[in-house]
């Protein structure tokens, strides 16, 4: 009941005309950003961060989480309409949504996916509302060794999920750690690598992400000459509303997707993309007609859509309760929490409960807005996308430059943003994952701090990690995750080799 009371308190804080307008705008912006190929949730949050300066904390966080949620809705629009997934989780949506579009059922695909996204988001939010306070109440028993190991587990999972790119993921993680070492050392207070006075405080995290995800994408799209051509799809309103038959086909996959998405979202490092692929595979296996997958199967569309939206609130659970982000998007959210002067961790819900609950209430409201807007305002989204599609590169460049300038009202951060823009471009061009890099930039200073505190607590000995029961459990879990992941990769390689040999 406490959770519901707190949620009501959160609603009390956000139900002002300004906040409602912010949440609605966030949903719209997120949907458009999510729909644009190349710009995903991380880019959306990064580009919107400078807009939150000067806003009250709750409004700023509502804007960012609303954009995050909106991108998950938006990714499906271009997937279904023109077979161009707006972001990685929407790749699966294109597999079933675009064939439906070709069959003249595009509006139905948009409608079903909007409903499934809503249910997925709502389910994830309910778990967030009721589970987060419980986890937070236990999290206060964790000390520096446990925190260090949890962060290391998150980073290890992200790297292991990189599959064939594991060396590249490890390489960019190391680069991220090095970037994070600029500025004050938390433990000794010494200033590291302040080659110019502006670096005394370290490299501004927001400038890094704006460059990496905003400008990097622009450079890449300019090279690839990515062009959107949405045309003028014409739908009637009643075509968006699924009938009884479609709803009954979508109901069970939506529920399964919601559960799977929330669970995978909670696991640090997994994220929405992995969740949608797993859910699609599960739906195909459970289906009585697996051969219809890829030809416009409603279960294959509804399940993954629910999954990717459920993963958003799921991924916020470890962020809010433990201060541990599990993905690029939540890493940026962690940076935003720190930027607002909040201290992410087990005490966040106690010390800044009002802001956290206002943010959660904002998410509930955003999810409802997004359902309504993604059914009623599809023509508006299509027209907005058509308006920016020809000049997208310049819109993003302008937002990046002005956003970076806004950080300290000086061109220094524009230089930083440009350098990381080039880095982002080179990483994308050569298939180096950006997720581990940004996670390392955010987590490394905290992890270094916890690690050195732990060793000090252990009087200079690393045995402290083995002596404490919780940290030992986390260590064993981490070893299991690594072992299972390596075993899975070796098995997949052997299977591929065997298949190759059989083919010959």
């Amino acid at each position: 009941m406490d959770a519901l009371n707190n949620l009501m308190m959160g609603f009390g804080d956000i139900l002002t005309p300004f906040n409602i307008a912010v949440i609605f705008a966030a949903g719209l912006i997120g949907t458009v950003v999510g729909a644009l190929p190349g710009l995903g949730p991380s880019a959306g949050i990064a580009l919107m961060l400078p807009l939150t300066f000067g806003m009250p904390e709750a409004s700023g966080l509502c804007l960012l989480t609303g954009v995050y949620m909106g991108t998950m809705y938006g990714g499906r629009i271009t997937s279904i309409l023109i077979n161009a997934p707006g972001d990685a989780p929407a790749i699966i949506t294109a597999l079933e949504g675009y064939p439906m579009m070709q069959q003249g059922r595009g509006a139905m695909a948009l409608g079903i996916s909007a409903f499934s996204s809503f249910i997925g988001g709502l389910f994830g939010l309910l778990v967030l509302i009721f589970a987060a306070p419980v986890i937070a109440s236990y999290a206060i028993y964790l000390g520096p060794p446990e925190y260090f190991l949890l962060m290391a587990t998150g980073l290890a999972t992200v790297m292991l999920l990189a599959g064939d790119q594991i060396a590249k993921a490890f390489f960019v993680t190391c680069l991220g750690v090095l970037v994070s070492t600029f500025g004050s050392d938390y433990v000794s207070g010494q200033i590291r690598f302040a080659f110019v006075p502006e670096l005394i405080e370290g490299i501004d995290f927001v400038a890094i992400i704006i460059g990496l995800y905003g400008l990097g994408e622009v450079f890449y799209n300019l090279e690839k000459r990515v062009k959107l051509n949405l045309g003028k799809p014409g739908f009637r309103m009643k075509e968006f509303i699924p009938g009884k038959a479609e709803l009954s086909q979508a109901a069970a996959p939506t529920l399964r997707g919601s559960i799977l998405g929330t669970l995978i979202g909670i696991v640090p490092g997994a994220g929405a993309t992995v969740a949608t692929f797993l859910d699609y595979a599960m739906e195909k296996r459970l289906s009585k007609k697996p051969e219809t997958f890829g030809t416009g199967n409603i279960a294959g569309l509804a399940g993954p859509e629910a999954t990717n939206n459920a993963a958003v609130p799921g991924s916020l659970i470890p962020l809010i309760t433990l201060g541990i982000p599990g993905s690029g998007g939540t890493a940026i959210m962690l940076g935003a929490l720190i930027m607002f002067g909040l201290r992410p961790g087990p005490l966040l819900m106690t010390t800044s409960g009002d802001i956290v609950w206002a943010m959660i209430a904002g998410l509930v409201l955003a999810n409802a807005f997004l359902l309504a807007s993604n059914v009623l305002l599809i023509p508006v989204f299509v027209n907005l996308l058509r308006a920016v599609q020809g000049n997208l590169a310049n819109v993003v460049i302008a937002l990046c430059v002005v956003g970076a300038f806004s950080l300290a009202y000086s061109p220094f951060n524009i230089w930083i943003m440009l350098i990381f823009g080039l880095l982002g471009y080179l990483m994308k061009k050569n298939d180096y994952p950006t997720g581990p890099f940004i996670l390392a930039v955010v987590l490394a200073p905290l992890a270094e701090n916890y690690f050195r505190q732990s060793v000090m607590l252990g009087q200079g000995s690393a045995r402290i990690f083995l002596d404490r029961p919780i940290s030992l459990t986390i260590l064993i879990l981490m070893a299991l995750i690594i072992a299972l992941s390596i075993f899975g990769q070796v098995r997949a390689k052997r299977r591929a080799l065997r298949a190759g040999a059989d083919g010959e």
């Binding site: 300019l222 020809g390 002005v402 524009i414 061009k429």
Partner: protein, 147 residues
């Protein structure tokens, strides 16, 4: 191996060497644990080892010449991204004179004309409208001194 990948690895390696050398100024051990030099030193070494591994792995994988052929064509392909970066670096240098939006506008118009296939009028109007909107949001609404 792609030239751009080699550039990425080489630049990262140089960065790691610089930080690695600089980190010798900081204590590796402190009285009861590790000092501020511990993380940068170890990660600089790790980065260099991984850079070497990635280069060697790419070398072993590629049967032909180490760098791909047809460099002129590849350079032509990356020209839009490279030009945009150079233009932005130049514009940022000019921003030191006081205006953020003026050099930015020039860059945006050039990108529109050269890479987005816009005509002059469209480039001038579209980008002016974009910057007016941004000025409205940042300067008038958020009171951030963007001029």
């Amino acid at each position: 191996m792609r030239t751009s990948e080699l550039f990425l690895i080489a630049a990262t390696a140089v960065f790691a060497v610089v930080l690695g050398l600089q980190s010798t100024d900081f204590q590796y051990f402190s009285r009861q644990g590790f000092g501020p030099g511990f993380v940068p030193t170890n990660f600089a070494i790790l980065t260099l080892l991984l850079a070497a591994y990635l280069v060697v792995k790419a070398r072993l994988k590629s049967g032909g010449p180490f760098l791909p052929e047809g460099l002129a064509e590849r350079f032509k392909a990356v020209l839009p991204a490279l030009s945009a970066a150079v233009l932005l670096f130049g514009a940022t240098a000019l921003m030191g004179f006081g205006s953020i939006l003026a050099p930015l506008y020039v860059v945006m118009v050039i990108i529109s004309l050269a890479f987005l296939g816009h005509g002059l009028a469209r480039a001038l109007v579209f980008n002016a409208v974009t910057l007016v909107a941004i000025y409205g949001i940042f300067s008038l609404w958020l009171n951030i001194p963007v001029i």
